[in-house]
């Protein structure tokens, strides 16, 4: 089951949990399952059915380019981080 590293600002939703394992074959499924378990989670990371602008989903160390459609493996490691802008 994919492991989600919970951003510090959202740990208030997870009862302080830093890491949670949540089922999901895609990032979209994972976010839906996170939201079911921790209501409000999806609103912080998605908007209008997409990742929020300014939010990067990092799957196995790399920022996704397929957004919520990104497929996840059973051992995937998922982070939600602010997107980094370069110069």
């Amino acid at each position: 089951m994919p492991t989600v590293f919970v951003p510090v600002p959202l740990r208030r939703l997870t009862g302080g949990e830093h890491r949670v394992t949540v089922p999901g074959a895609t990032l979209r499924e994972l976010v839906a399952n996170l939201d079911a378990r921790y209501p409000g989670f999806a609103a912080h990371v998605t908007e209008d059915g997409r990742l929020r602008p300014g939010m990067a989903a990092i799957v196995n160390g790399e920022a996704t380019v397929d957004g919520l459609r990104t497929p996840l493996t059973e051992d995937a490691e998922v982070h939600f981080l602010p997107a980094v802008s370069g110069g």
Partner: protein, 779 residues
Amino acid sequence: MTITEKPQQQYKVIGTRPIRHDGLEKVTGRAVYGADVKFPGLLWGAVLRSPHAHARIKKLDVSKAAKMPGVFAVMTGADLVDLESKLVDMGEEIDNLAYTTKKLMADDKVVYKGHPVAAVAAVDLNTAQEALKLIAVAYEPLPVVLTVEEAMAPGAPLVLDDLVGEHLTGEARNTNIAKHTRYEFGDTAKGFARAAVTVERTFKLTMVHQGYIEPQNATAQWNQDGKLTVWTSTQGAFNVRDAVASILKMPESNIRVIPLEIGGGFGGKIPIYLEPVAAVLARKAGRPVKLVMDRKSVFEATGPTPGGTIRVKVGADSAGNITAAEADLRYEAGAYPGSPVGAGAQCIFAPYRLPNSRIDAYDVVVNKPKTAAYRAPGATQAAFAMESVVDEVAERLGIDPLEFRLRNASREGDRRADGPIFPRIGNVQVLQAAKRSAQWNAPLGAPSAPHKKRGRGVANGFWFNGGMKSSCNLAVNKDGTVAMVEGSVDIGGTRASIAMQAAEVLGIPAEDVHPTVGDTDTVGQTDVTGGSRTTFATGYAAYLAATNVVKQMMGRAAKLWEIDESGIEFKDGTFFSKSDPELRLTFKQVAEKLDETGGPLSATGTVNMRGAGGAFSTQIADVEVDTETGKVDVLRWTVVQDVGKAIHPAYVEGQMQGGAAQGIGWALNEEYFWDDKGNMHNSSFLDYRMPTALDLPKIETVLVEVPNPNHPYGVRGVGEAPIVAPVAAIANALRDALGTRFTETPMKPSRVLAAIKGGTLDGAATAASSNGASRRGRR
């Protein structure tokens, strides 16, 4: 000097140093920049800017200006649609549309000195500027907040009345803190308890500008069918198009943005400033309108990189292993949210493997221009703090500073302090190369005069690099050359580095690929030339397009030989029959037969890249300090960097040298000099002191090639990492020279002199380290 991690494939084009394709036009002055744009009937625009850093606009009357002879149009904030507050991805910039619109032209309040209030289009620039004098504005000045400390103080005046901050506890109103985020792993309290040495310091930085030579400019022209064309100096035509479309509420496809040659950007030409203003004026005037900023406006009203305050605490055990680290970063966003504090927070501990870490990051609005990207945005500030503290920890433990960094260096598989696992990185290889470098092993030498002191400093820096979207078109000419249209604005020789990747695939000389930078109607979506992504991503698009060309050319050769395509192979620019050694044709020979084998041949490559692979840059500074004047001379400098694979080594070296030069200016001289009303008092290149060639030594480069596995040639971005370490390297060299730890930028003569004389100037924290220079044993 180039150090390659292990032998790689031998290339014909990659790794060579051909003359850049656009070199002739640039050295002969024929290259067309934004200020060169001219049309029949072209009007000049001028912008009225606020004299106050914070004021309410009580009255704005443009009627006299509108009636002035020679004036064709006047605009104010009322001419821009009041857009909803919504974050949009502008390609390397995340902007709130409502704030972007207000930044372009104020509505009822100005929030920084130089904030546009109105604009005029007239027959010539003089007339436009005279018309601005006829615009009557009544301001009610408001209290200003200029530092993060002022802005975060209880009861501070609010920069933005409607700001909703994202804090750890949720949404917050009536605040200047736009965002507070945190990264946390392990238990820092336990980690510090295990430490034999703990160092904690607070650093202050002032706002600095990218200092590009060419000011922002934009020319807009409307067609009768409602389509808009914009000529501009930008790092990304497509992000300009998308931003203008959002702001003017029109379809993107009705806007064509033509990027002209760019006289420097460094991140500062990602945001838009003039394009929508030129478009509105042109629409109202019914004629094309051109706007070009003056230098004062560039300083006051475009996006510098932020100042702020950073506290860092690092503990290490007696064996020299870091046991815990904490950082608190507070960056000035400028008048609207969006400083690069997030990137600073994500970079600050990246060079180190840390068992326990905690990072707090605050994005704080102040009455200064909205900050923008500047080469590895946010990372230089962070490295100044972290690399200074790391140096001090090493010194207290009596460990060589490079050895201490190596002992604690992050490696592939380590977890970054912001969470993700590092992929293949070259941090250790870079530090090892720095340790072996000529400068590190050379004696520092005796000072040139009795009143001078010398010191050596080292620092490391990390930048992520970017991927994103790129497009490239190739068309084969019948003489065997190839026309290339690619979507990345050329900064630092990227036409060459992209063309060379295509040439390598095609087996032809780099000079036989003729690159052109396309506009938004001539090439597919391409994100900005920024984020150190262009040679990586657009180069990959060129690689794919060229691979497609080769495949098609095989089909053409098969037709000529009347054999099946599967019986042909391609190597070093020649097509061979696998079964008949007599059948061989060069790329050029097949191209000459295009008309006989099916006609024109072209291909497109498009990518949306991930896996850019981060870059580390370790830098060594030798300085000499005049203890009578406080002036610091840089005697010798080496940049050691993981470059993946250097496509055009001269341009990679140029990026490394340029990053170091800008970082040295940032360290020693550059600053926005503010008064307490938010007025900048050095808004010219005479007073804003950037280093010239006379200030700098020849900057030595060591290219460490640790290939990026996510690119066919192993490319990593190289443009940003080299600006991360220099400020800290200078600070560490000054500590070595004077025994004083500088904690504030710039380390200008007056600050250095004050520290030498009394050590009491703000920023020269000498109390904990005033026991003289720490000459290391090897010198």
